[in-house]
Amino acid sequence: MFKRILIANRGEIALRIIRACKEMGIETVAIFSEGDRGAAYLDLADQAFCVGGARSHESYLKITQIIAAAEVSGAEAIHPGFGFLSENAHFNEVCRDCKIEFIGPSPKAMLSLGDKNTARSLAITAQVPVVPGSDGLIEDDNQAIEVAESIGYPVLIKATAGGGGKGMRVAESRDVLLTALQQAKTEAQAAFGNGGVYLEKYVLNPRHVEVQIIADHHGNVVHLWERDCSVQRRHQKLIEQSPAPNLSEKTRKAICEAAVRMVRAADYTNAGTVEFIVDPNENFYFIEVNARIQVEHPVTEMVTGIDLIQQQIRIAAGEPLPFTQDQIKTHGTAIECRINAEDPLRGFMPSAGKVTQWIVPGGLGVRIDSHVYAGYSVPPYYDSMLGKLIVHRNTREEAIACMLRALEELKVEGVATTAAFQAAVLRTPEFRDGTIDTKWVERVALQTLL
């Protein structure tokens, strides 16, 4: 096992990794920017190195400084957390060239999954369903009709040079297909000087369901079941939960098994997440793989009782997985709310500044992952997440009740937070019924709950 690990990240996830290391008896090396100098979590590390200025590109993205810190501190491995350099294959490679273990997948797996087209073809070879469409541009009307019939209506017509919805049309049926096709082409030609369009199945009101997987260096791959992250605003997840509500056991198993096939095909190791969209009829389609630990990993930890960060470290150290797929059981329901320093009443405007009061909820079933405390100043340079509030209870109904009282207890002064908005979402019948899709917040919540 490693003697010393450098954590190439900041804030909540850096603290999360320090905690895991301490419990494993591993020394920690923190890095920090001038913007984070003096933050309390840095005191918990055995060593701490300033790697540059407050802006990310001057510090948390400065590969040379981070590697230098690892070398002078004698760190044997680097945990990248999420964001920053976590999915940077070059950094991944540099670490290994410097004989420092990168706690994550191989650069090769990272690259192949990082490229949408490679990932899509990998999925197809692994028999993982992808959103069906015309492979390549539409040559003529007949081909358009053929493809549309084969993938089924409604279909989405997209400009190959597209962007910002220009040259994009939805065709509900054959009657309107050719007109829509013509409009899209003309619009695309006008907008991008390129009339090329292709067809893709239009997935209505999809839910976001993702599968946590871990794979060791001995060929063992297991999934830790799924998470539903459909409550999102502009692709920013606000509430995550496991298990996914309102999803048949059959689909649940099928998605998880598809995820395992996907990472096997990519020769993937360490922790990762395979993301899918699920339509109201429970058809599911592969979207992408996140080749790192995710913000919402705690909900999976709560229902499975498995410490994912510790597993990441053990895998990187060459240990085989300590359990088989059959031994991974989930218990109860876990829900996570990301507490962001944003003001829902002002368009979720980030609200940096000094946190003058910080009273966190506690009691049975409540977990807090946060680096914040009364007197902490939220730097304006990074994302606005103050922390994560996670609950775990025997039933989903109890978990919702627990989260609601926990959000009520949370008392933050000095900066605005998203907590009250999340409480409002948790009280809706849509959340209770598990019918929320990825556009629901913009379509419904922002109109009715604010």
């Binding site: 003001d343 829902p344 009443l345 907590a419 009250a420 409480a423």
Partner: protein, 164 residues
């Protein structure tokens, strides 16, 4: 602690005014009235006096802006009040119970604003566990204000009357 009516009432500026008056008279730093989803909170001191109201399905407790009408009167009206507050006294409740301003529904109140009282004057009754206790003023002077409504629930040290 005390009841708040339907939302319309919650927003009623006069209600806020009188609450602020109460704070001033009793030198309170905070009034926090909550009932189910509805809530009024008034704060004094370093924190700006603010009003926080929970809507049925959504309680923006952390950042509801302080509406000017509520805060303003407190600030402006304060100055004149100070003088007579200086030597004001309060008759406080010695017990938890229900406040009764009159001996019986038909009778007129024990005391009203303007009445002179001595330490022995009975100013109200408080009912607890079916027992009625007559409360003497304890001090002498003129009733300046009755601070609780008839049959309102009171707790220990709750100011009942203001006396000068």
């Amino acid at each position: 602690m005390s009841e708040v009516g339907p939302d319309s009432e919650v927003f009623e500026v006069n209600r806020i005014k009188s609450l602020i008056k109460l704070m001033r008279e009793n030198d309170l730093n905070e009034i926090d009235l909550k009932h189910g989803e509805r809530r009024i909170r008034l704060r004094k001191g370093d924190l700006p006096t603010q009003m926080i109201v929970g809507a049925p399905s959504y309680a923006p407790q952390h950042y509801a802006p302080a509406p000017a009408p509520a805060a303003a009167p407190a600030a402006t009206a304060q100055a004149p009040a100070v003088d007579d507050d200086a030597n004001a006294q309060f008759i406080k409740s010695p017990m938890v119970g229900t406040f009764y301003s009159k001996p019986n529904p038909e009778a007129k109140p024990y005391v009203q604003v303007g009445d002179q009282v001595t330490a022995e004057t009975i100013v109200c009754q408080i009912e607890a566990m079916k027992m009625f206790s007559e409360i003497p003023a304890g001090v002498s002077g003129t009733i300046k204000a009755v601070l609780v409504k008839n049959q309102e629930a009171v707790d220990v040290n709750k100011p009942l009357f203001k006396i000068v």
